[in-house]
Symmetry: C2
């Protein structure tokens, strides 16, 4: 199946927004084995849009449009396609009912323009919009499939996953469903991960295994096609087990898990409370943990001890320790963890100290970070990082590594 993704909207050509829709769709299409050879962006101009359609019809058998389904005069995607393939636009009762309900619910006034959004291509399969007013459409004409989706990403994405993907699987003539599971890694780079599971990556066709590095983590998405979700998951299970047997130590969660949600979950399980003492991260660690709703039962708080004076006065880090080992050292990280734990009377204390840059700190090269974790009555554990990013990527990575090592410590036995 050859797919062309066509985004319609002058705001894209003026550089006011980025075409994130094309990336989202492309990643999902790659999972089902569809070939995407071109992305095109065209403005709100019927003549140029029709030119794009004519050209795409020569090189693809599925054309996916996003944008131009709104209520204003500028929005002309479905009108242009209707004219081009010779279909009329008809009123869709269900869509009109949804639009009317939306206006009633929000107390806003519905205009004649809004009724335009309930018009659909005659004979098309209407794709319901659960997050907005404009319904999507899918229709086949002369062997080519036209899918029309709304432009706003929060409307397009669920419609694409829930409606367009099943439609395309049907086009392929198979009664298939698709299931995927995302494994989340920290503490290992994408290249190293790929290298270590090369054999697994190469032999997979169903499920497929696709690595992807995001800002927060390195992930592997395992995707299976089968006749049922149960069957698809049964295909995924042994692949996950095989990956875990090789690089399981770096996996901190699956699917929607984040480093902070995992820490929150483990603290809750143990009924433990936590406080943190942060130097170079200056609050990033506690702020990240506070992303989690309901964390106030586990997170007591913390101290940001940015300069040396604050470390001594607020957390009683001894001058002798600092003179002997320096601020960026294992003993300092351990003392920060132990002392903040005592100060807040918590079960867990975390200490983070390091040289963020731009200049070396206390003789330690930029990027050197020490993390201390003190749990209950145990001796504090310390971890060293040598990071090579910019000042602020190093600070973010230090906070995330602290969450990662905390997950490891809290998961022990």
């Amino acid at each position: 199946m050859k797919v062309e993704i066509i985004a319609v909207g002058s705001e894209l050509l003026l550089g006011q927004i980025t075409n994130t829709n094309a990336q989202f769709m492309s990643a999902r299409l790659a999972e089902i084995g569809a070939d995407v050879y071109f992305h095109t962006v065209v403005g709100d101009n019927p003549k140029r849009l029709e030119e794009v359609i004519r050209h795409a019809e020569k090189r693809a058998d599925v054309l996916i449009f996003s944008g131009g389904l709104g209520p204003t005069k500028d929005d002309m995607t479905k009108e242009t396609i209707a004219r081009h393939i010779g279909l009329s636009l008809v009123n869709d009762e269900e869509a009109l009912r949804q639009i009317t309900t939306y206006f009633e619910r929000t107390g806003r006034i519905m205009t004649e323009n809004n009724k335009k959004q309930a018009l659909v291509l005659d004979g098309s399969q209407v794709l319901p919009n659960r997050n907005g007013m404009a319904p999507g459409m899918a229709v086949e004409k002369a062997g080519i499939h036209y899918l029309l989706l709304p432009g706003p990403p929060h409307e397009m994405k669920p419609m694409f996953a829930d409606e367009a993907i099943p439609y395309l699987l049907g086009v392929n003539g198979k009664e298939e469903v698709i299931a995927s599971r995302v494994l989340k890694f920290y503490g290992i780079g994408e290249a190293e991960l790929e290298h270590r599971i090369q054999d697994i990556l190469e032999k997979q066709t169903n499920p497929t295994v696709a690595p992807l590095a995001t800002a927060e983590a390195v992930t592997l998405r395992i995707t299976a096609k089968a006749i049922s979700m149960g069957e698809a998951n049964r295909l995924i299970d042994p692949v996950e087990a095989e990956i875990r047997s090789v690089v399981g130590e770096f996996i901190y969660g699956i699917d929607e898990d984040t480093l902070s949600s995992k820490v929150a979950e483990l603290l809750k399980e143990k009924g433990w409370t936590l406080a943190a003492a942060e130097s170079l991260t200056a609050g990033l660690f506690t702020a990240e943990l506070a992303n989690e709703p309901g964390i106030s039962t586990s997170l007591a708080g913390g101290v940001v001890v940015y300069n040396e004076e604050a470390k001594k006065e607020q957390l009683h880090i001894e001058g002798q320790l600092l003179d002997t080992y320096g601020v960026v050292s294992a003993p300092c990280a351990a003392a920060l963890a132990t002392n903040v734990k005592r100060k807040f009377g918590t079960d867990v204390g975390v200490g983070i100290t390091g040289a963020a840059g731009p200049t070396p700190h206390d003789g330690k090269p930029v990027g050197t970070v020490w993390i201390g974790i003190a749990c209950a009555d145990e001796q504090p554990a310390t971890f060293k990082l040598v990071l090579s990013g910019t000042r602020n990527t190093n600070r973010t990575r230090a906070a995330r590594f602290a969450l990662y090592y905390l997950i490891k410590q809290l998961s022990k036995k």
Copy 2:
């Protein structure tokens, strides 16, 4: 001038990265009045790339390519263009020298592949790459201009601004330069801002005034074309003054200023130190401020007092105050600011407390935030926010509003 932006790279079609380059270029091209009618993305495939070039030549007179200038076999943008327009590739001494220097400086081993990056289109203007190895190129053939730029955004963006834009201004046959100044706003929405300066927006042709909302701020970019930078800036000045006369109270900086850089600058000017007490933001405020290199002379640190116990024990917030006014109140914000200032012995204290959600806190509806700022010997000032975002957008916005109000307080005569 009709421009077509062509991104080359299979990673875009697989959904591994987003085409942010097209947005960046489009916004800059709009400023110089160039018309962008199409964006195209094509993979690392010479046949399909040539098809795209042939098609673009029919509808544009400037083709801007990004990507495919790297050292690997996949990278074939310049080879394909060379063949298509009948130019040979020749070695560029300066580019080769830069590549060699790069390898010497980083101590890495240079391969034969890397030398390929020093090949340029014969007769093209070489665009130096200050952030990577692949030089850019600009060449005209049969009335069509071909600009070849590297794919990585941190290499492409400066080359586009410093080399490609001046080249295109020259293509236009005018001896023009372009200057722009960005005004940064906080505490006012994009729609409200546009509404209040509608008259100014409508009457401008040179300079143009373009609003843009980013995650961090609402901005206005004033862009002027003139025969010299001095002349362009003289066109910008009165427009900036007119905007300031209407909405100046919401402007916190210009160009590269951020909320945190502005706070850092003002603290340094006054020689003041700062400490913060954070509840709902849980460290975001100090972490944001610590983005600034060299902040350790001004930022002493802070306390995250996430639960009520921590507020009482760590910052001596009195139970009676909490019982009377609640945690989310002006008196609590003021007390947090005053007490953290005293605790750290600083000149400025900031207190942030609020109901982040998902459930109301202490009877206060989700989104209610109080910010307290205590400067030197003055009575603490307090500010109330009523935010309507999600838990985490509210937390981020509360931290940024605190920086914004702090700028206002520190800027007072």
